[in-house]
């Protein structure tokens, strides 16, 4: 392990990182006193850190390779991660669900309104992740403009409320429907596309939506957006600020439960199987009699509907929307939630959403380093566990030998 070759690799890595970090970590220019502070000790730390870190890195890689090899030879049972193990233990499912539900219901009474509002935002992203999971995780259609449907929902509520004084609850289904319609509109021209090409077209679609909202001032209020969007009310009763925060939190909890329920049912259905088959092999899928166009349209529309619903709730939650909330970066974050959590896995995406949104919030303590920690965590995750936190499992069927005999 401590061969000359290994030593050389580590020394080179250390020197390279020392060179790369030299301008930011070593030199500090003080423009007022016109002096330069040379902090050579930082260079030493970087060098030492990378030197030993690279040993650890290689060791971890080797371990992963060994694991893969063992699995290929069929010697070892597939090693399950911590979360995966929890998710697959049938004895734990009911108590775990009860515990999670208890915590979610009690949570807002234990913390301050700021925390509730962060959690609500995280739940909005969970719904977005679950919706995108249909399109990307199930049907395998890479959609980089998903945030456009979120925007359609949010602006749908804001504008319908402004011009026609429609309430939150009326707009919720309308927003979802509108977004679903946009999903079909986007899907129609891209029915023939796949992979990279599809990704670029959807990216363009997302950007068009944002740019239209930003520039069509008369319609959308332009860059200043729309303010004074009413919070949701309860049969005509409106709430004080702190009550409203709590109320939206519960609406969002309900929305997440509804989404999980519906998506779970879709996944284990005739349509859900067709989505996965489309992802796996398009030509075989068509040769087996599945109408490719219909299946793609349904995936796009059903994925978009959840974004529309989340958009309406987001508008009610923020009471103010502008195009800045619907940039390409948001699409990337939603996609990261899906990939980090585990493509196609509902529980994975829920965890992914919570982690992606809550972690940066709570890392504010460490100041400027939070994005650095966050980024490195994602890199490590993708290198060592590319299948995501929780790998999706196919449904297993039970048959008795006498049943279903030909």
């Amino acid at each position: 392990m401590f061969t000359l070759q290994e030593l050389r690799k580590s020394v080179i890595a250390a020197l390279w990182f020392m060179f790369l970090t030299f301008p930011i970590l070593v030199i500090r220019v003080n423009p007022l006193e016109r002096t330069i502070l040379w902090r050579w000790e930082n260079m030493l730390y970087v060098g030492l850190g990378v030197f030993f870190g690279s040993y650890a890195w290689r060791e971890l890689l080797r371990r992963k390779e060994r694991g893969l090899k063992r699995r290929a030879q069929g010697q070892a049972e597939e090693k399950t991660g911590f979360f995966q193990g929890l998710a697959e233990n049938p004895k734990l499912i009911l108590p775990a669900l009860g515990l999670v539900l208890g915590i979610t219901l009690l949570f807002p009474h234990l913390v301050n309104p700021y925390q509730i509002s962060i959690m609500t935002l995280a739940l909005i992203y969970v719904v977005l992740g679950l919706g995108l999971n249909i399109v990307v995780g199930q049907a395998g259609l890479l959609n980089l403009g998903y945030v456009a449907f979120f925007a359609v929902g949010a602006y749908g509520y804001a504008l319908l409320n402004k011009h026609f004084a429609l309430g939150f609850w009326t707009c919720l289904p309308i927003g979802a429907g509108l977004a679903g319609l946009f999903g079909i509109l986007l899907a129609l021209p891209v029915l023939r596309l796949r992979g990279d090409y599809l990704a670029i077209v959807t990216l363009g679609f997302g950007e068009i939506t944002r740019i239209v909202l930003e520039n069509w001032g008369k319609f959308s209020g332009g860059p200043t957006g729309i303010r004074g969007i009413p919070r949701p009310e309860f049969f005509g009763i409106s709430f004080s600020l702190s009550e409203a925060i709590l109320y939206i939190y519960y609406i969002m909890v309900f929305a997440v439960i509804l989404t999980i329920f519906v998506i779970n049912r879709l996944q284990n259905s005739r349509l859900g199987r067709a989505w996965v088959a489309l992802r796996e092999d398009e030509i075989a899928c068509q040769a087996m009699g599945i109408d490719k166009a219909g299946v793609k349209l349904s995936a796009f529309a059903l994925g978009a509907m959840w974004a529309g619903m989340a958009g309406v709730i987001f508008a009610g939650y923020n009471t103010y929307i502008n195009p800045k909330s619907f940039t390409f970066m948001e699409s990337v974050i939603i996609l990261s939630i899906v990939v980090l959590g585990g493509m196609g896995s509902i529980l994975g995406v829920v965890l992914g959403g919570l982690i992606m949104i809550l972690l940066p919030e709570y890392l504010r303590e460490v100041g400027n380093y939070r994005m650095l920690i966050f980024g490195s965590a994602m890199i490590l995750m993708m290198v060592f566990r590319p299948q995501g936190l929780i790998q999706s499992k196919r449904k297993a069927y039970e048959f008795h030998q006498d049943k279903g005999a030909a």
């Binding site: 519906v262 049912r265 879709l266 259905s269 005739r270 349509l271 859900g272 199987r273 067709a274 996965v276 088959a277 796996e280 092999d281 030509i283 075989a284 899928c285 068509q286 040769a287 087996m288 009699g289 599945i290 109408d291 490719k292 349904s298 059903l302 196919r394 449904k395 297993a396 069927y397 048959f399 049943k403 279903g404 005999a405 030909a406």
Partner: protein, 264 residues
């Protein structure tokens, strides 16, 4: 009796390349027919034209499903062709690798089932029943091809021979009257090939499905098929019973030096 598949002067051009040149062929009900020829003769292109993956340049393809009128299927979409009762397997296996064996077969059932989005969400008794029936029907098919122990195994983890059989089960799930098999024995060892031979006969005898297969394993072809069509350079060069084909000088010429086991 009217042939269930009638192909007339089928021609397929790819740019300047003529891959199929006025090929005619017909298959009667209950027949096992083989399509052979050296590599690159256009056999798979022929399959792709029939099953709607390519639209032929000239010619006609007619099918006569049981108790239905004759139908021209040129340029029909692949999924429509399957719906009409033609199912196929692929030369380079095209299963859904990350789905279980049973789910693969259930996809074949898609075209014969009806439940939609609302059915999936609310799951009324009719949908539950359809799902249960689908699963049991597909399990029976897996049993038939000898994969009842691998029901919940991912398709990609199955052995090569098992993947070939799974493809046949998946194609059968679409309720075809004609099954098109593209090199079903490729990569199989002699005992697996023998099992395949029996399976193909069983499918014909028990389910009344006619079979058209492309195959390079001459022993299997000579054993199993009642008629053989031979193609070379995009044209049909011979047709007839296995014995006639074996002794046909044109066929021997086409194979000579390219396929050492042509006269095996």
């Amino acid at each position: 009796m009217e042939p269930i598949l009638k192909v007339q002067t089928l021609t397929m051009d790819f740019g300047g390349l003529r891959a199929l040149n006025r090929v005619s062929l017909d298959i009667r009900k209950g027949e096992i027919v083989a399509l052979i020829g050296p590599n690159g003769a256009g056999k798979t292109t022929f399959f792709n034209c029939i099953t709607g993956i390519y639209t032929p340049t000239h010619g006609d393809i007619f099918i006569t499903p049981p108790e239905k009128p004759r139908l021209r299927i040129n340029g029909m979409k692949a999924n429509k062709v399957t719906e009409k009762g033609l199912a196929r397997t692929f030369q380079n296996i095209r299963l859904f690798p990350n789905m279980t064996a049973l789910e693969n077969v259930m996809i074949g059932r898609h075209v014969r089932t009806r439940s939609g989005i609302l059915g999936a969400i609310f799951r009324p008794p009719s949908v539950r029943r359809e799902e249960r029936e689908t699963a049991e029907y597909c399990y029976a098919l897996l049993k038939k091809v000898g994969l009842s122990a691998e029901v919940n195994e991912l398709a990609k983890n199955l052995s090569y021979g098992a993947q070939r059989r799974l493809e046949i089960a998946r194609a059968m799930a679409t309720d075809p009257f004609l099954l098109l098999l593209d090199e079903p024995a490729a990569g199989m060892n002699p005992s697996e090939t023998l099992e395949l031979d029996q399976l193909i006969r069983k499918i014909r005898d028990e389910d009344g499905i006619s079979i058209l297969l492309i195959e390079h394993d001459m022993k299997l072809v000579m054993n199993i098929s009642e008629r053989i069509f031979v193609m070379d350079y995009g044209s049909k060069i011979a047709e007839g019973a296995p014995m006639d084909i074996k002794n046909n000088p044109l066929v021997i010429k086409a194979y000579l030096g390219e396929e050492s086991h042509a006269d095996a």
